[in-house]
């Protein structure tokens, strides 16, 4: 199986052993446009309860919403896991789906394989992955075509 991997740098590895203060998972179902955005909204509400900085919540929520819509548009199902660490918030999104054959290409603004139905929802313009990258401090994509994709992204918390 050909696994494709891309990341913003080695720093993603540095969080492997971090203590997880809070963790919760949310299920996302492919093609379920009517509920597209609910996971991002639930995570945002949770982070507000925790009293995180509004700018950090906004950045993570934007990344989550784009990632969630990607699952709805391109995958069969996924689990979005929120992890709150002592110095960061992290999301791990594992989907079962078609995978990304060429990650570098998918990261280019404007590159899209979207259908008209996706565009009618205000997405599918080739801005999803670039928007996630723009709003996070660390971002890693591991994808196996025909099997699925795992995204991991992190935003650092200022102390």
């Amino acid at each position: 199986m050909n696994e494709n991997r891309w990341s913003t740098g080695e720093s993603c590895v540095s969080w492997e052993d971090a203590e997880i203060l809070y963790s919760e998972s949310f299920r996302i179902v492919g093609d379920d446009f009517e509920h597209g955005g609910e996971a991002a909204a639930k995570i945002k509400a949770k982070l507000k309860q925790f009293g995180l900085d509004a700018a950090i919540i906004r950045r993570l929520s934007i990344a989550n919403f784009e990632a969630e819509m990607n699952v709805i548009m391109y995958a069969r199902e996924a689990e979005m896991q929120l992890q709150v660490l002592p110095n960061a918030v992290r999301v791990i999104l594992s989907d079962r789906g078609q995978g990304i054959p060429d990650i570098e290409q998918a990261l280019q603004e404007g590159y899209s394989t979207a259908t008209p139905q996706m565009r009618q929802r205000g997405f599918g313009a080739g801005l999803g992955l670039p928007n996630i990258k723009r709003n996070t401090d660390e971002f890693e994509i591991v994808s196996t075509p025909g099997v699925g994709t795992t995204l991991r992204y992190t935003i650092h918390l200022q102390n």
Partner: protein, 117 residues
């Protein structure tokens, strides 16, 4: 500009939020039908102007911390969209004016771009 002045200027119908609109100010707007553009380039606190009446417009306003939603071209959202915005406690407006005319009137009245395009 006061939200009430905006309602008068664009002859809006107020779908939600009339009860907390008194004294509410709008300083900037971001207009797009592409929600990824809103997520990428809008500033928090801007009014979203859009012709997209799907549930994703309501989630976008929530996620991007926008101050309200104005639907143009006479679009009226379905009940699930209204229910979602009701929880966000932001105004939901609709105008018969087109995107071009609504934006033109607001820009001409001194409202600022709520982000870059």
């Amino acid at each position: 500009m006061l939200m009430q002045e905006l309602v008068d200027l664009l002859k809006c119908r107020v779908i939600l939020g009339a009860e907390f609109m008194e004294g509410l100010e709008v300083t900037a707007c971001f207009a797009a039908d592409l929600m990824s553009d809103v997520l990428a380039f809008s500033r928090p606190g801007s009014l979203l102007i859009t012709g997209l009446a799907s549930i994703q417009s309501a989630h976008t306003a929530d996620v991007a911390d926008l101050s309200g939603i104005l639907f143009v071209g006479g679009k009226t959202p379905a009940e699930p969209v209204i229910a979602l915005v009701r929880n966000q406690r932001i105004p939901l407006l609709t105008t018969e004016l087109s995107m071009f005319e609504a934006c033109g009137r607001l820009y001409g009245s001194g409202l600022e771009p709520g982000g870059r395009s």
